[in-house]
């Protein structure tokens, strides 16, 4: 699609942080060094649910090399209140209790105490000397069990259900009665982890002047600032957070775990303290995304028009309220224009780590259910599955059951691109051996794109370059995609801009890198800051030339016959009034969501039940692809994570709530040998609410892969699977049941 009216947008320049990353010079959180650094180790719960009777740190404190030991009692015991620090409304006691347990532990791996010592070995050995006495309580591990009468209660009261969302429009019961075909199915999905490669790590120095300095790997430096200051009862200005490079997050590096604990240890010891999670800690102590149980019922008329839909969604919240079911309930039927809908979603406490966002949180679960049912309807009606989707696709003006009407969206264009893609009409090919069967599946999905505040400052250098600073930590190449938007406005190549992600003292408040917002919102701030630069530069040119009006186009300032390039004018800054600094802060509300879809070809070994992905095509509406390679990278990344979720990933818990596969060996994320090259096709339906038409692209791409693969497996073996993961034992069992 044409981006030819732009000079920078739509091109694929090398990333600014590339050289440091490929040469190993980039500083990640655990690389951060400081004189006098102490090493920390945590004590984590060995029970999924228990009363903490006694935590005795005496022996640990006396261990050689130990400088400080902390427990939950070391936090300022401020009265409880509700706060919203970037992760939704939460009581302070929950944030504090998740960081260090008080009174009760709610999951295996729940942090209880921490030690800081002069060496990591000393800290680890001392941590083992902390005596914890538990009074074990029965644990509850799935939403269904937790909703049952008589289930153990995590936070008292009379239920583990912390929220019930209900959306309805039309009259679904009446519409089902008139439907030619009604399909109702129940689905379950396992708890899965984002699987970012870099474990959480943080170093904190509580300085003698009372300021707290934090260096950490996070998706939101201002969230860390606000949580640390809240839990330590300090003004936000007392905390400065410097985000390091980040080795992946996918939503899991929005919550704050280690920083407040390292701060307490630093306060006690007077020295900088570093805490680093192990992979086991990451699995057991940081937020996975919820396992779920879903019932979806859909009805269509004989022509394949969807006329009614109902969904019951029970999602695990983990140990604290505030799980992902809200978004799941908004997305479950978002791809379709269905007049009669009833949606009920339940957020349910279980004895697992408090859930965190994971790429379109809540939506892949729901799409697995909906897209499986839609596939079944298409089969029953003998209709092409994409044709059925097209007939019912959401478009401008379609109302979702949760209220909003879609503005201009690209659902139709995505489905049409899938239909037209050569993959969709290519033959499946012969199975590779006598016991293999092949199949093809499709699915589509939707995810939002949020706004939130972002700030950007651009300082022009006399050599015609510019320094751009911003507060969005860079997970997916956003330094470059943001700089490209400024470069487009300023009419200079993007390598003339030096973008940097800076600390919370240096830039205005900027929301998390999440919700597919960064290229959209911080890019918008960069666009506005660049316009501010150009506005000022025009005044400089006007001054220089004594001109009334100065025009600016394609990097050239012009008044009548006189013209000057950006670089030439930059060289004259000091004679025309001094430095030029442009800035902007935005808080956009016009975010436009993104639709995406997949075509998946699989081969199932009917002997072993193993599924091989033969060919995989991801299609997504990017609005406007600023840097197409990064958009494709997001689509491929979301696809691979979706493949892992579909085929093998799960928290495998024993009945006592211990995760038995808390290692990358046994958690079984796909490796490079488990996925084919993921083919991508970008669709561009510009977002009318962004200066360049950008839609966030980070998340919608994970929504449909599990469903697409489920539909492909159904196509191959003639049996549908209703549970994720569809691992080899599950596929083998499903086929055995058919014999």
């Amino acid at each position: 699609m044409s981006t030819s009216s732009y000079n920078v947008i739509g091109t694929r320049p090398p990333r600014h942080d590339g050289a440091d990353k490929v040469t190993g010079r980039a500083i990640y959180a655990a690389d951060f060094q400081m004189n006098g650094l102490l090493h920390g180790a945590m004590v984590r719960s060995t029970h999924a649910h228990a009363i903490l009777k006694r935590v005795d740190t005496t022996k640990a404190a006396a261990f050689p090399g130990v400088v400080a030991v902390v427990t939950a009692d070391d936090f300022p015991q401020t009265p409880d209140r509700i706060v919203d620090l970037g992760e939704g409304e939460t009581p302070v006691s929950h944030l504090r209790g998740n960081v260090l347990a008080k009174g009760k532990v709610l999951y295996q791996g729940h942090a209880i105490a921490a030690v800081a010592a002069t060496s990591l070995q000393a800290a680890e050995q001392a941590a083992k000397l902390i005596e914890v006495e538990y009074e074990p309580l029965p644990c509850v591990l799935t939403a269904v069990e937790a909703m049952a009468a008589g289930a153990p209660l995590l936070h008292g009261g009379d239920t583990n259900v912390t929220a019930h969302v209900h959306h309805a429009m039309g009259d679904s019961e009446a519409a089902f009665a008139g439907a030619a075909i009604v399909i109702e199915r129940e689905f379950t999905t396992a708890t899965v982890h984002q699987g970012y490669i870099e474990p959480h790590a943080a170093t904190v120095l509580w300085n003698n002047d009372g300021r707290v300095n934090v260096w950490c790997s996070t998706q939101g430096s201002f969230v860390v600032r606000d949580v640390v200051s809240c839990l330590l009862d300090l003004p936000v200005s007392a905390v400065r957070v410097t985000p390091t490079e980040i080795g992946g997050g996918f939503g899991g590096k929005i919550p704050v775990y280690l920083e407040p604990v390292a701060a307490l240890l630093s306060k006690k010891s007077g020295r900088p303290v570093r805490l680093v999670m192990s992979r086991r800690d990451v699995f057991e102590g940081s937020g996975p995304t919820p396992g779920s149980m879903m019932r979806v019922k859909m009805g269509a008329d004989a022509d394949g028009k969807l006329i009614a839909a109902q969904a019951f969604l029970a999602y695990e919240a983990g140990a604290y309220a505030g799980g992902m079911v809200g978004a799941g309930a908004m997305c479950v039927f978002a791809a379709y224009d269905i007049a009669n809908q009833t949606i009920d979603g339940y957020d349910v406490l279980v004895n697992k780590p408090s859930t965190a966002a994971y790429r379109a949180p809540g939506a892949p679960n729901a799409a697995f259910a909906t897209e499986s049912v839609v596939d079944e309807i298409a089969r029953k009606l003998k209709m092409d599955p994409l044709e059925l989707r097209l007939r019912n696709a959401s478009r401008e003006g379609t109302r979702r059951a949760d209220g909003p009407k879609f503005r201009r969206v690209g659902c139709v264009e995505v489905i049409e691109a899938m239909q037209a893609h050569p993959h969709y009409s290519a033959p499946l090919g012969e199975p590779s051996h006598a016991e293999a069967k092949r199949g093809r599946g499709v699915a589509i999905g939707y995810w939002f794109n949020i706004g939130l505040p972002s700030s950007c400052v651009i300082s022009v250098n006399a050599d015609g370059t510019a320094n751009l600073i911003e507060g969005s930590t860079d997970i997916g190449g956003t330094r470059t995609s943001i700089a490209m938007q400024a470069a487009e406005v300023m009419g200079i190549p993007v390598d003339r801009i030096h973008p940097a992600v800076v600390d919370t003292d240096t830039i205005g408040y900027t929301g998390v890198t999440g919700g597919s917002r960064t290229t959209y919102a911080t890019g918008w701030a960069a666009h506005d800051a660049a316009q501010d630069v150009i506005r000022q530069m025009k005044l400089r040119a006007a001054k220089l030339w004594q001109a009334e009006a100065v025009e600016f186009a394609d990097g050239v300032f012009q008044a009548g016959e006189r013209q000057m390039t950006f670089a030439e004018l930059a060289g004259k800054m000091s004679e025309t009034g001094g430095p030029v600094v442009g800035q902007a802060s935005v808080n956009p509300r016009g975010a436009g969501g993104s639709f995406a879809g997949v075509i998946a070809d699989v081969e199932v070994d009917t002997g072993t039940g193993k599924t091989t992905i033969l060919r995989f095509t991801a299609v997504q509406d990017a609005g406007r692809a600023i840097h197409p390679s990064y958009v494709e990278g997001q689509m491929q990344g979301g696809s691979v994570q979706g493949i892992g979720w579909a085929l093998n990933e799960e928290y495998w818990m024993n009945p006592e709530g211990r995760m038995m596969n808390a290692s990358l060996l046994d958690y079984r994320m796909p490796t490079i040998l488990d996925v084919p090259m993921i083919d991508t096709q970008i669709v561009e339906v510009p977002n009318p609410a962004h200066p360049f038409g950008v839609r966030g692209v980070g998340e919608a791409n994970i929504v449909s892969p599990p469903a697409g693969i489920a539909n492909a497996i159904r196509d191959a073996i003639g049996v549908r699977l209703y549970h994720l993961p569809m691992n080899p034992p599950a596929v083998a069992a499903a086929m055995g049941g058919q014999k």
Binding site: M660, T671, D674, A733
Partner: protein, 282 residues
């Protein structure tokens, strides 16, 4: 990991001496099991005895009647050795199946055996190749048939102060074929859910030898002797193979854990045995 002492003897005698009277000492070959266990806190060793400087443990040579494989020879040398590739192709294959390139530069078949994991990939193949282990210790040198070497998960038949010197693999007869088939859910970086090693000799249209051993379905690698009895004397056929595969399935004593449910492992024993036997008997 706790601090430990380290010695690297250069002769068998020195090694016997270093291990004597030190029951908690551990032998170090490639370290790809041992060091990972020590780092993970699953194994402690006050003394580590590195055997990679002892020439006997590092040699591969053809002898009268078979191949003598030093216990510490890394997989990469086995996989690329001309004699091994010509006469024991299944061994070369298993040596390039274990781990990836980096691991193969260190990991030894001796270590794979001594580690005594039920899932060890080389062990079922060693069993069907009728390998014999030669061990040295305070009492001198003795031999142990490989099928008797592993006695429990992580436990082998070595006595106090004993260590593995080498493995002897009898020379294959004409018409002999061996094969190891492993099932893992991913295509790399996984532990055998089930592994099947098979070997057979077909002479004049008749099966004259047959052996089958399983990984990951019992506390130790499992030698299924019934398969030998069932196949020897028969002509290779789909029925004979199906019958033998059913015996393997029946012999398995799998458990359910995070890697797979027991019923599924049992089912796989049948499927993989059938496929592996088909590969050697066809």
């Amino acid at each position: 990991m706790k601090p430990f002492d380290y010695v690297a003897p250069t002769t068998l005698d020195e090694a016997v001496h270093a291990l004597a009277g030190n029951p908690a000492a551990r032998v170090l070959a490639g370290g790809t099991d041992l060091l990972a266990q020590m780092k993970g806190g699953r194994r402690e060793a006050p003394l580590v005895v590195d055997v990679k400087r002892i020439p006997d443990l590092l040699s591969i040579r053809m002898e009268e009647g078979g191949l003598r494989l030093g216990a510490a020879v890394p997989c990469i040398r086995i996989a690329t050795n001309a004699d091994v590739r010509a006469q024991y192709p299944a061994l070369a294959e298993v040596a390039s199946l274990i781990g990836g390139t980096a691991i193969q530069g260190r990991a030894s078949i001796g270590g794979n055996l001594c580690n005594a994991a039920p899932s060890a990939d080389a062990v079922p193949l060693l069993i069907v190749l009728s390998a014999v282990a030669r061990v040295a210790g305070p009492g001198g040198i003795r031999e142990i048939a490989v099928e008797d070497f592993c006695v429990a998960p992580g436990k082998n038949a070595l006595g106090e102060g004993e260590f593995l010197v080498d493995l002897f693999l009898p020379k294959p007869a004409a018409g002999f074929k061996a094969h190891y088939l492993r099932f893992i859910p991913r295509n790399e970086m996984d532990i055998a859910v089930v592994g099947v090693g098979v070997s057979a000799t077909v002479t004049d249209g008749q099966i004259t030898t047959a052996r089958l051993a399983l990984a990951s379905v019992a506390p130790t690698p499992l030698f299924v002797r019934e398969v030998t009895e069932a196949l020897v004397g028969k002509a290779p056929s789909a029925e004979a193979i199906a019958g033998a595969a059913a015996l393997a399935e029946a012999a398995a004593k799998p458990i359910s854990d995070m890697r797979a449910p027991a019923e599924y492992r049992r089912h796989l024993c049948g499927v993989l045995s059938r496929r592996a036997l088909t590969a050697v008997l066809q």
